[in-house]
């Protein structure tokens, strides 16, 4: 089982608030295959971001377990979480969240430097990945010198540079016009097929969602739909 599934989520619940409790996730069960390209859709406030944050170990669930490659991430020490985020997970958010004081190349190098890789090696790898996302000629630009779509490409390169097994995107194109989003989706799809990494993307864009392997539909913190797309 754990060979086939990179992520196994069991009875995951997340409750916010001390006074008025909000059940953002309510007993979610979900298995995700290695190399799968998964879309999560659902109305605003249905718990999509909360689910991604739990998978990305940016937050801890109220109850339930998440096995990442067979290891329960909810039990991890703080240090182990950092290492797992660095080596196994890649994040892309709606806003690029690039470090404003560093240029594109340095931003992409950062996950490598954090993992302790020599700066010369990191530079080489980061350049390759930047070229892959089509930004070979913009490497020394800072985020404020790049367009929204370009910044998002840098953020994708940063998410992929450490070759994580799971890439998480929370509305990665939510801030872009439709042409730019199309390009980004095509890029993500291409990378997914080339590197056999697992992609989990939250999106509002049904047209995009239909191009993925599977669509998970969340409503009120529960899985209300789980449909495979035919290819």
């Amino acid at each position: 089982m754990s060979e086939k599934y990179i992520i196994q989520i069991k009875n995951l619940t997340k409750i916010f608030g001390d006074g008025v409790e909000i059940k953002a996730l309510d007993g979610v069960d979900l298995n995700i295959e290695r190399g799968e390209f998964l879309a999560i859709i659902g109305p605003s406030g249905s718990g999509k971001s909360t689910l991604l944050n739990q998978i990305g170990i940016l937050d801890t669930p109220t109850s339930g377990t998440i096995l990442l490659d067979g290891v329960d991430v909810t039990e991890m020490s703080d240090k182990k979480r950092s290492i797992t985020r660095n080596k196994q997970l890649g994040f892309i958010f709606q806003y690029h969240h690039l470090l404003p004081d560093f240029n594109a190349l340095e931003n992409v190098m950062m996950p490598l430097l954090i993992s302790g890789i020599k700066s010369s090696q990191a530079r080489k790898t980061a350049k390759e990945v930047l070229a892959e996302v089509g930004l070979a000629d913009r490497m020394d630009h800072r985020p404020n010198q790049l367009s929204g779509g370009q910044n998002q490409r840098v953020a994708i390169a940063r998410a992929l540079v450490n070759k994580p097994s799971v890439v998480i995107g929370d509305e990665p194109t939510g801030n872009l016009d439709s042409k730019a989003s199309d390009n980004i989706y095509e890029l993500l799809r291409k990378l997914n097929q080339e590197h056999n990494q697992t992609f989990i993307l939250v999106t509002h864009d049904v047209r995009m969602a239909e191009k993925t392997d599977r669509i998970i539909r969340l409503v009120d913190g529960r899985i209300a739909g789980n449909s495979k797309n035919s290819t």
Binding site: D59, F91, F93, Q94, H97, L99, P100, D101
Partner: protein, 385 residues
């Protein structure tokens, strides 16, 4: 060391804040360095004016004795001690001086002029006549200017000296000195043999005064003399109040200025707090990339430390240059009694201590905002898009 890479980039990206933080610490440190140089210089002058004018070590008769017998032997032994540059045997006796109906009780000190000058620099204080004449003309005396005034004597006048059980003698005034101390009214110098005749003793002295090449050697010298069987004491024992005064002034000075640096460092803390607030999303993203809490903490502590170090080095350099510049300037009027320039002493050890102190202080000060940053929760820091 990506933490250092990030810390330095943060500082170079917000140049204005960095500049003012460094400036604030730099100014405080400059003030501390400058005033430390002034303080050390002032202390040196104080020592020159007090300790350097007194005997470094005083040797007294053995327990139960009135005199040091066989003092020539003892002097020879003392002469063999490392660092001794002057030895003066002194015989002191009480006397009543009388001139034309005016009386004054004085301490009459018999000295060997050369030897005594090598310890006490008496020749520097002569204002009329000379000490040397004490050894040229027998039964002569050098009096302080205050005493001369009291008795109304001038060079060439003859004073009657007497005391119960002493042999009365007539002393011709051959010199008048001014040491600027109360001694000027009560201490009169004659030759050693004159006092010996007066007290009817021979080959004895009451004290031996010693000078070392360094005032700080006084303790070692006096301990060595103790081993010869004669009680000796260094100037710190005979004048504990000097050390006390200088110590208190030095400490209160350092405390005041240390406080200024602490305040300047608090400026850095508040700047860092602002930076942590500004960079909350960035910190969240760094955590998402796998930066541990410890490393987040390190980044901000480093920033504080670097600011402190830059400020300290800048402040010490400018403060020292300022002190050197002001120290070599002749003000053309008397700043302190007898000196028309301010004495600054810039010591490397002071600079090193100040830099180290400021650096450590800023490292410690950085811990609070840094730990705030490290305690952010990644989801909350990144925020909801």
């Amino acid at each position: 060391m990506y933490e250092l890479f990030i810390a330095i980039r943060h500082l170079t990206s917000r140049r204005r804040q960095t500049f003012f933080s460094v400036l604030a610490v730099g100014l405080a440190v400059m003030l501390l360095m400058w005033s430390q140089a002034l303080m050390v210089g002032f202390t040196d002058v104080m020592y020159e004016k007090t300790v350097d004018r007194m005997a470094h070590v005083t040797v007294e008769p053995q327990e139960g004795e009135d005199y040091i017998h066989l003092y020539r032997n003892l002097i020879e032994n003392i002469n063999g001690i490392d660092g001794v540059v002057g030895i003066s045997p002194v015989l002191t006796g009480a006397a009543t001086f009388e001139y034309k109906g005016k009386n004054k009780n004085v301490a009459m000190q018999g000295i060997q002029v050369e030897a005594h000058d090598s310890v006490m620099f008496i020749n520097d204080n002569i204002i009329e006549g000379s000490f040397r004449d004490l050894e040229i003309s027998p039964n002569s005396v050098v009096v302080g200017d205050a005493l001369a005034e009291k008795l109304d004597v001038e060079i060439g006048d003859t004073i009657d000296a007497s005391f119960p059980e002493a042999n009365p003698v007539n002393l011709k005034v051959v010199g008048i000195y001014n040491s600027g101390t109360p001694m000027d009214e009560t201490l009169a110098f004659t030759s050693l043999s004159t006092v010996q005749d007066f007290l009817d003793v021979s080959n004895v002295v009451t004290t031996i005064l010693v000078r070392g090449n360094d005032r700080e050697r006084a303790q070692a010298i006096s301990e060595k003399i103790d081993t010869f069987g004669y009680p000796a004491s260094g100037w710190k024992e005979t004048n504990p109040e000097i050390i006390q005064t200088l110590k208190i002034e030095g400490t209160s000075n350092a405390i005041t200025l240390g406080l200024i640096i602490i305040i300047a460092s608090f400026g850095i803390v508040s700047t860092l707090f602002m930076v942590v607030m500004e960079k909350t999303k960035e910190i969240g993203m760094l955590m998402a990339m796998g930066v541990s809490r410890r490393s987040i903490m390190m980044i901000f502590v480093m920033e504080s430390g670097i600011l402190g170090l830059l400020g300290a080095i800048m402040g010490v350099t400018v403060g020292a240059l300022l002190a050197i510049k002001m120290g070599s300037y002749d003000y053309g009027f008397e700043v302190m009694a007898g000196i028309s320039s301010i004495n600054f002493v810039v010591r490397f050890q002071d600079a090193a201590i100040i830099v180290l102190f400021t650096f450590l202080l800023n490292l410690i000060a950085g811990i609070y905002p840094a730990s705030r940053a490290s305690k952010l929760k990644p989801v909350e820091a990144i925020g909801r898009d």
